[in-house]
């Protein structure tokens, strides 16, 4: 189905630019052209298509739906809705406060915030196109599980004391009167607006991810990864997660790197642990959350995710590699 992008890259890299296949530069440029056309095509298509059907799944609505439910329902709901609700990380703080104000437990709120950057429908489709549906579904299952486990751990340790005091005093007002979207034109306008906003926000991460993937693909020999990142090297998974923590990218932006690493024979658990770590934990996100969370809670939160991602990595490597 995506062969057309391979053909296009064949033509552009080998005929148009006259590069030789099987040379590092030729391989890199081919990877770059194939991925940049394929991923941006999918990105625009999926964001538009989803925008057409989901005219509005807002954090405000999620808050209303999740509030007051039992834990058995609210945790799965929080991660599930976290995965499909679009919101930019600059809205993390009001979202956090709004959830707690509605009486949603801290653990459930954190579950939502963990799952949200890690999983989204665009990343899942692009991941499936790059490395197959099996890996994409495993990633989703692992991401949802980590979200629930992370939230439950925060609830278990009773960390509410490390939420900034002012957060509990804020009271929410009525909110925006929703205007129903009815006409086809409104739907198209909304969907197109989503494309402009989302692609405008994440294109740089995707671009950089493709560039890094292309260099890995063409210039780093397979032996390097076999030597340092095989299943036998138990340090590979923790190292991958550690590398991912300070790196900041959108989940979709990591996929070209995932693709290149898997093609080089890096085991699936190690690669998925890296992807989760890059997408879910980042310095800018922590700085934003610092407005509502005290440092010990941020440290605990990072520690829980660190352990969870390593667990996911080892588990997948043991079962699948």
């Amino acid at each position: 189905m995506f062969e057309i992008f391979t053909r296009l890259a064949d033509w552009a890299a080998y005929s148009l630019l006259g590069l030789a296949p099987d040379t590092p530069l030729g391989e890199s440029v081919h990877f770059f052209i194939e991925d940049i056309t394929k991923i941006f095509f999918l990105l625009v298509l999926i964001v538009f298509a989803i925008g057409m059907f989901r005219s509005m799944l807002t954090p405000e609505r999620v808050r209303k739906v999740v509030a007051g439910r039992s834990r058995a329902v609210s945790y799965p709901m929080a991660v599930g809705l976290g995965a499909v609700t679009p919101f930019c990380s600059c809205s993390s703080v009001p979202l956090f406060i709004g959830f707690l104000e509605a009486g949603i437990p801290l653990g459930v709120t954190m579950s939502f915030l963990i799952a949200s950057p890690m999983i989204n429908e665009v990343a899942v489709v692009v991941l499936a196109a790059a490395v197959g549906w099996k890996v994409a579904l495993l990633y989703v299952a692992a991401g949802l599980t980590v979200g629930i486990v992370g939230g439950l751990a925060i609830e278990f340790f009773k960390l509410e004391k490390w939420v900034e005091g002012y957060v509990w005093k804020i009271r929410m007002g009525e909110g925006v009167a929703e205007t129903p979207v009815t006409s086809m034109k409104q739907r198209i306008d909304y969907a197109w607006g989503q494309v402009k906003e989302i692609v405008g926000r994440i294109w740089i991460y995707v671009f950089v991810g493709i560039a890094i993937g292309a260099v890995l693909h063409g210039f780093i020999p397979q032996e390097f990864f076999v030597k340092y990142a095989s299943v036998d090297n138990l340090l590979a998974v923790p190292t991958a997660v550690l590398i991912g923590i300070p790196l900041y990218s959108n989940a979709t932006g990591v996929i070209p790197i995932v693709e290149a690493l898997m093609a080089k024979g890096v085991p699936i658990g190690t690669v998925l642990a890296l992807m989760m770590s890059v997408a879910a934990i980042s310095l800018p996100e922590m700085i934003i959350l610092r407005k509502v969370l005290k440092p010990p809670l941020i440290a605990t939160f990072t520690g829980i995710l660190f352990v969870a991602f390593i667990g996911v990595g080892y588990l997948f490597n043991a079962v699948l590699a």
């Binding site: 808050r63 009001p94 005093k169 007002g173």
Partner: protein, 78 residues
Amino acid sequence: MKHFKVLGSGCKKCATTADLIADQAKALGVEVEIEKVTDMGAIMGYGVMSTPGVVVDEKVIHAGSVPTATVVQGWISA
């Protein structure tokens, strides 16, 4: 005179929204007052969780994105 409030904790999109309202008002020759609200308690007081939000005469009319120019013109001339 219409009183606009742009809700948002200082992100780029909030500044863009405020500028957009000012530009459109100028283009339409309508005088408006624009105030940026950055205090989180005040923003939440309007029930807005996804910023930027827009309030006209104390009523929330928009939240969660930079509005389009057409939409903004609608608010100004309404």
